[in-house]
Each structure stands twice: as C-alpha cells, then as structure tokens.
C-alpha cells in the first residue's frame, strides 16, 4: 500500500466520525486489505452460513507495547480469538474486527497492524466479515485497542467439556511456556533487558483440528493458558471437576532464556502469560501417540505431558517440585508482582 496516497499521517478524531473521513479510512485501508464477499457488501453486519454447531468467542486486546519482539497487537488479536474458538473443538471460520484507536496513532503503524491482521487471518483460514472503527481523544486510550469475535464450526468428532475429564487423564502442553509474557516484559518501560526472547503468538487451530480428526472424543479438554498462565488455567479446571490435578515441575517445558529471565525478575513462569500455547487433557491410553503426533507438527514440536488428573486432593492443583516436595498451585490473584529482593 502506498501510504502517500492516503493524504494523512496520523489517525485523528475525524476518522471515527462516521463521515467521509471514516469512509476514506475504510475504503483505502480496511476494505482493500480484507476484501471478501461478506465484507464487500459493506453492510452493517454480515450474513453467514454455518451448518453445524457453532462456537463463538470474543476477546479484547489492550497490550502495551503494541509492537513487540515476535509480533504485534494485530496478529495477537487474530490468533488469540482463533485459538479460543479452536479450544472449543471448533474450526474457526469468520472474525469480526473492531478498533478503538487513540488519536495521533501514526498511519504507518495502523497499516502495519492491519497488514499483520490480514496475514494472521489468512494463515489461520478465517475471513474478516464485519467490523468497526472508533477514535478516542488522546489520553483516553493506549494507541490502539482491538476487539475480535470469532465464529467457528464445531468439529463433528469433538466433545470438549470439563465434565468429560476423568481420573487418570493426562495433561499435555504443546510447547514452551511463559515465552510470550517474558517477551513483552523484556520490552516494558523501565524493565528493558537484553534478550532474544520472542513472543510465540501463532494460531494452533490446524493442529487442534488434526488432533480431533484422529482422537475425537478421547480429547476431553483444550484450554489456552493466556493471562494468568498455566497455573491459573489449571486451577480453574480443578475447581470445575471432582478430581484433583497433579503436575511435575521438572516436566514443565521452559526455554533456558525464559527460565533465566523469570529467575532474574522474580517471576514464576507458571503464572506468566502465553500465546500459541494450549493444554490438552486427554485419555491416558492415547497420550503418547498424541504427543508424538504433535511433535511432528511445527506448532507442537516441544509438546510434553506435564501431569495428570488424580483422585487425590479434589479441586486442587498440586505440583511435585524437582526435589520431591509438593506444593499447592493457586490461581493468580492480581497482576504478578516482582519481589523486592
């Protein structure tokens, strides 16, 4: 896209007015980038057909900084919602896309974000079918917020529910944890430290789909441990089931640099946010086969079993430490706060 033909350098309040400036922004950037038969109707909404059971998920993205090592808020907004739909055992098809932009955002940043959204949407096989753009005064936003809602068709073999979880089920994670959160943290104001940690934001819907094709209802649950990390998601699951959860510290997949960064900053990787990571709770007899199938896929290269569902300590997550001790894993309370010393 030739930015000079746009005739403006920054987004201003006029672009959210609903008038000609809005139309110009939409025509020159949004419609041009995302063109498809549903969006091209330029209607207030989109009329779609999904023949099977439908899964819907919505999410708002407010990340700072908006550009980070390994991605930006745009692809995060696509991958995050696509993955949430995939976690329902569904094949993501359509996405709505709503921006809240703070006036003054540079147009090249906006276009970069839009282009990333397009690439991420294409890669995960979803169409942007409807959307919205609002502009708020300077100081009333943080550059840009994005909301996406995803619609997917539930996989015919899927039966994803915490109700299906049984004692003996294995808990599998598809790859390194805590990477995204630490990539963001390493670039936060006042915390910058040299590292090559890169966010692993990516879609996982093709992998989950492939697993459902093969293992169907032997997969009892998919969840993505985004905010609050693995600890918070497992704690939530434990509360919803009649059994307990046991995980093993020395099985947690943790990349060396991420482990070191967590150590230095006094953060527990179990509570650090993830993207492109999912947890699968599956029947024990398919766990090994599933892990080896995941290991053959780029998105599951480092998949491992981190624990299991137990009859002991119902509603609680207990971690076996690397020295043979045990501790309760509780959900994150507020933001994870670095310790003093």
């Amino acid at each position: 896209m030739d930015l000079s033909e746009l005739g403006f350098d920054t987004i201003n309040l006029g672009h959210g007015s609903g008038g000609l400036m809005t139309r110009e922004l939409l025509d020159k950037i949004i419609f041009r980038t995302f063109s498809n038969p549903f969006l091209d109707q330029k209607h207030d909404g989109a009329i779609l057909r999904i023949d099977n059971k439908i899964a819907i998920s919505t999410d708002s993205f407010v990340i700072s900084p908006i550009f980070f090592k390994g991605g930006n808020i745009g692809e995060l907004a696509v991958n995050g919602t696509v993955n949430d739909v995939a976690m329902c055992g569904a094949i993501p098809k359509y996405l709505s896309l709503a921006f809240i932009v703070e006036e003054g955002l540079k147009i090249e940043e906006f276009v970069d974000i839009v282009n990333s959204i397009k690439i991420a949407a294409d890669e995960s096989g979803v169409l942007i079918v409807t959307g919205d753009t609002k502009v708020v005064e300077r100081g009333k936003g943080d550059k840009i917020f994005i909301n996406t809602t995803g619609f997917g068709e539930v996989h015919p073999k899927a039966n994803i529910s915490t109700e299906n979880i049984l004692a003996g089920d294995k808990i599998i994670v598809n790859g390194f944890i805590a990477q995204h959160g630490m990539a963001i943290m390493s670039q936060r104001e006042g915390l910058e430290f040299e590292s090559t940690i890169v966010s692993d934001t990516t879609n996982v819907n093709f992998l989950t789909n492939k697993l459902l094709d093969k293992f169907g209802d032997k997969i009892h649950l998919f969840r993505d441990p985004t905010r609050g990390g693995v600890a918070s998601v497992l704690s939530e699951i434990a509360i919803d089931i009649d059994n307990g959860i046991t995980i093993f510290e020395d099985k947690l997949p943790l990349e060396k640099q991420v482990a070191a960064a967590c150590e230095i900053l006094g953060l527990d990787p179990l509570y650090v946010a993830n993207e492109g990571v999912f947890i699968a709770i599956v029947e024990a007899d398919v766990a090994d086969e599933m892990i080896s199938m995941m290991n053959d896929d780029e998105k599951g290269r480092n998949a491992v079993c981190i624990g299991e569902i137990t009859e002991d300590h119902p509603n609680k997550v207990v971690m076996h430490s690397s020295i043979g001790g045990k501790r309760i894993v509780t959900p994150l309370i507020g933001e994870q706060l670095p310790r003093i010393c």
Binding site: S322, I323, K326, R327, R339, I340, C341
Partner: protein, 364 residues
C-alpha cells in the same frame, strides 16, 4: 543454569534430608530470617520433607511485611499530591490505613513499578517539572542501590528526586525476637543476601550472648536443607557458632564497595517495624548532608501516624510466636484478595506463602 540447577538437585537435597533425619534426637525450633527463604521452603515443598522434629519458624525478613502502615500512608499522600511515586512491585498491594498504593494509582496517582531505584532517577531527569520519590524499603540488601540512586541524583544535580526511606536491619530484629518472653527460637538461618552485603561479623556477639547457632544460608533447596543440617548439628552437639553455608556468595567482611556507599548516605537510627513497634537502632535514615533527598522532610509528611489493624496478628507472625494458620482471620477475613496485613500480600510473607503453597491446605 550454572549455580542454580546444582542447588536444586534431587539426590543432593535428599541426602541432606537423610542426614538431618539420622542425626536429630529431639525437636528444635529453627527460624529462617529471610522471606526469600520462607518462599523457598514452601515453594519447593521442603517443609513437608523435613522430619517432624525440625520446626521451621518464619522470621521477619520480608521487607514488605515489616514496613509500617504510616509509611504506606505517606507514600499515598505523595501520590495524591501529584508526586510520581516509584516502588518495588510487591509493595503496591499492601493495605495502608485506608487504601493500598494500587488503589491510589487507580484513583489517578502516578505510580511506577520499578526493579531499580536508578530507573527512578531517570524518571526524575525526564520529568523536570514533576517531583519523583522512590519508596526505599528493604533490608540491608536493597540499601546499596537506594543509596547509589541518591549519589547519582546528587552528581547529576537532579533536584526533583528524593527517597521515602524505610530501611530496616536484620541483627536488631533478631535481638528483639530473642528478647521476647514468648520466643522459643533455638537456631537461626541467617539471611544470605543480607550477609552478601554486610558480611557476618556482626553476628558473632549475638551468637555468643544468646548462645544460639546462626547459619548464614542461601535460598535454593540444597542451600536450605544444608543450612538446617548445619544448625541441627550444632544444636545436637551443644555448639553456638556463626557458620557460613552460603560461602559461594557471602564473604565474612561483606561487599566493601556496597558498604562504603551505604555508610556514605545512611546512618543507623531507630525504626518502627510493622506489628513489632519501634526497635532502637534498627534501621537506616539519610545522613544530614543528604536531607534534601529525604522525601519526609521535603514534603512535610513525617507527622502522619496511624494505628495498626487490631485484627491482624502480623507482629506475632513476624516474631515467629504464631503460625499463620493459628490466626483466626487466616483464609477467612484475610486472604490475598483482601489482605488485612502485609504478610498476606508479599510472596515472601509467611501468611501468603502458607495460603498459596502449603500442604496444610492440600487435604482440606
């Protein structure tokens, strides 16, 4: 990770646990001074692996926990008067008399969470029309960096920077605990990081006066069980010496460069400890030459006095007289969601450590 993974080794840790089991003949009460050690004991499940005869008592070494209520109110007062307040992370959720720093931030205060006070000096430099205060809490460990921030500001002639000092010292607190009539401590695990700065010469008279073993101990699993083993050996044999388990980090004379900076900026003075009260000569205050950097004087907030919450037994917890679950409010009126006192907030606080990790809760 060099110097970390070796100290989280299963076999080595278990061999020390066996040695403790094999040599202990009666119950001993051992207090780990530092909150980081409490955290390590609970997080790694060590408490459960120790023989019943080893009774670990959690000491007062959590800087967040011992910072008195009025200091938090002072920081909030600054926030509400357009001052940029910079703080270490785990301080911000501690309740003051009316609200926490986090709540004051939500009401519009400009609060920054930092890892280093030197960053606060940069913020002051970049915001010359604003006053910037660093909330300088902590034990001897954080004192050098806080002192250094004052020296930097002075060198660069930055006038809009000051620190709200609440520095406390370990040895006077140990003495106050030993002097308490309800205290029943048989040995101490000394705070490794504090001694990395200060050395451990000042512990010799304490060990002698109170006939108590003091083992300067690190923070990893192996450090902790080795420190406990060394304490048990002394107790069983009737010794009371200062020993250094953490020799890979701690030198007897401490870190001379850090000590020089501390003594240049700070002098020893009386300090109030949350839940314990004023302990004579138990903290640092800025020397007169640096009074321009003293936020309490600069903003006239040194008269804010507030009573402690009477439902909270933080004082008894910090002195090791009571365990967190012996508090009637534990897990009921007082949780990390709505803490009554600081030990429930900081991840190093004994109450929060028990709430989050303890096996006392696994079967309940």
């Amino acid at each position: 990770m060099k110097y970390l993974s070796e100290y989280r080794n299963l076999e080595a840790t278990q061999s020390y646990l066996k040695l403790i089991e094999g040599s202990i003949t009666r119950p001993w009460n051992i207090m780990e001074i530092c909150g980081g050690q409490t955290h390590g004991l609970v997080k790694n499940g060590i408490l459960e692996l120790l023989p019943d005869k080893v009774r670990m008592i959690h000491g007062p070494g959590c800087p967040v926990c011992v910072t008195p209520l009025n200091l938090i109110d002072k920081a909030i007062e600054l926030l509400e008067n357009d001052v940029i307040v910079c703080s270490f992370g785990d301080m911000i959720r501690v309740p003051g008399s009316k609200k926490s720093l986090m709540e004051a931030k939500a009401s519009g205060g400009d609060l920054r969470i930092l890892y280093s006070p030197l960053e606060a000096v940069n913020i002051a430099k970049n915001n010359p029309d604003k006053e910037v205060v660093f909330f300088a809490v902590g034990f001897e460990t954080t004192a050098p960096a806080n002192a250094l921030s004052v020296l930097h500001a002075q060198k660069e002639n930055i006038k809009n920077y000051s620190i709200l000092v609440s520095h406390v010292l370990v040895p006077p607190a140990m003495e106050a605990i030993l002097d308490d009539e309800f205290s029943n401590i048989d040995a101490f695990l000394g705070a490794g990081h504090v001694c990395a700065i200060m050395g451990f010469q000042e512990y010799y008279p304490l060990a002698e006066k109170y006939k108590i073993p003091i083992i300067i101990t690190g923070f990893e699993s192996l450090d902790l069980v080795q420190g406990i083993y060394m304490a048990v050996q002394q107790l069983e044999k009737g010794f009371h010496k200062v020993e250094n388990q953490y020799a890979r980090i701690v030198k007897e004379e401490g870190n001379k460069a850090a000590l020089k900076v501390i003594h240049q900026i700070f002098e020893v003075g009386d300090r109030e400890w949350r839940g314990i009260g004023v302990i004579p000569s138990s903290g640092y205050r800025l020397r007169k030459e640096f009074k321009d950097f003293d936020a309490e004087l600069k903003f006239g907030i040194n008269n804010i006095v507030v009573p402690e919450n009477s439902d909270c037994i933080a004082g008894e917890i910090l002195k090791g007289i009571k365990k967190p679950f012996e508090c009637s409010q534990f897990g009921k009126k007082c949780t990390p969601f709505k803490p009554l006192g600081a030990p429930m907030v900081s991840s190093e606080g004994a109450c929060a450590a028990y709430y989050h990790f303890s096996n006392n809760l696994i079967s309940s």
